[in-house]
Amino acid sequence: MWSAAAAQSSDDRIRALESEVQSLKKRIDALEGRKEAAATPPPSDCPGWDRLRMSLTQAEVRGLLGEPAKIESTPVQIKWRYPCGTAYFDIDTKRFVGYER
């Protein structure tokens, strides 16, 4: 049975689909280098990474980069994963030895 509530629900779905199509169009424009790309938000500038120095302590790295999203370790290295990259620590001294972005 057709009802006002069902019509309302269909309108909502159409609006959501239109919004998604617009979003996808923007992404395609950005990927193909069209002018709309400027509207795409720039990637995070990853503050703190340029201040990393060899042999910082873990507390100092945490102070610069904040809490890592994930900590992983192998028997030879410790890895702190961030959205912007990975910070590496020596397994013995626990000091910062480099990063990948």
């Binding site: 120095r53 060899m54 042999s55 302590t57 992983e72 192998t74 028997p75 030879v76 290295q77 590496y88 013995d92 001294t93 000091r95 030895v97 480099g98 990063y99």
Partner: protein
Amino acid sequence: MAQLKPVPGFEWSLYGRVFLTVEQVESKGGTSELSSRTRVSDNSSLLGVRAEKDLGGGLKGWGQLETGFKADDTAGGTNAFATRNSGVGVQGSFGNFFFGRWDTPFKISQVLAVDPFGDLTIAAPSGVNVRQTGFDNRANNIIQYWSPVMSGFQLRLGMTSNEGKSDAAAVAGTAAGANPRLYSGTVEWTAGPFYASIAYEKHKDSIGNVVATQGTDETGKGISAKYTLGAWQLSGQYGVYDRTGTDNQKSGAINLLGTFGVHQAIVSYRTSKDGGATGSATQPECKAWALAYKYLFDRNLDFIAVLTQIDNNSAGLCDFGQNGVGAAAIAGGGDPHGVAAGLRYTF
């Protein structure tokens, strides 16, 4: 046809280390001197694979295979497979329970946690301390439990199976009738820049957890500590070791590590006293020191140069911690001396 799908929550890593040094070593003053010679020595190069899977509810299953390999030569057929920490376990809020072949709790807290050389190179103190590597064990057939860290404290316990048991009639001092096994435990405490531990290990019917010896037991008791202040790290270890038929051996080490950007410097002093057969006219005693410089190229590569000297009395007992000159060269008071320089690549 069914398709393979990625397994969520499964992670694995391949890791390794290649560590070689060029050395000049000699041992003078003993009954059988070792003349000066140049060596290229491997320092526990390794390759490992570790896999983990999240099982839900905070439970994780894991497995690890780690093999050592000699990057310098194949002398003595030493490139055996899976010689290092390898095992399987489950980990959760209760801690970590696993079994396989693994470093003992005593070694973890008394050697690895406080040795600035990481138990590697001729400068490693384990040839003087921990009863001349007798309590620096990676034990076969070991079952271990590591507690979670609670208020900075962590407990590690381990025991080996006794599958090396001999059913022959007991003959004291031989493998016949021996029932060799190992028990090891440690409590560690970490709070900011402080680390401290106590540890205990017992070897039943064996010497160094290696030579099955009926009627001979060994006990090791150790304490270790480490303190980091800015660029400096001070660490030390002291232990007392009892073996059936010998005087208690006492040994210790104190180390200072300085880190200045890409430069590191290490100064270390270690000593050992007694441990020879009870009633011996002369009990062994040695004093040793080591200096080292490290240059850290990046997260993968570093350069190390070390200089070390061991002074044994006439009952010579102490040797380098790794790649020692051997029992013959220290017998009668031989004094091992060496300088080494090398590269370590870690990935």
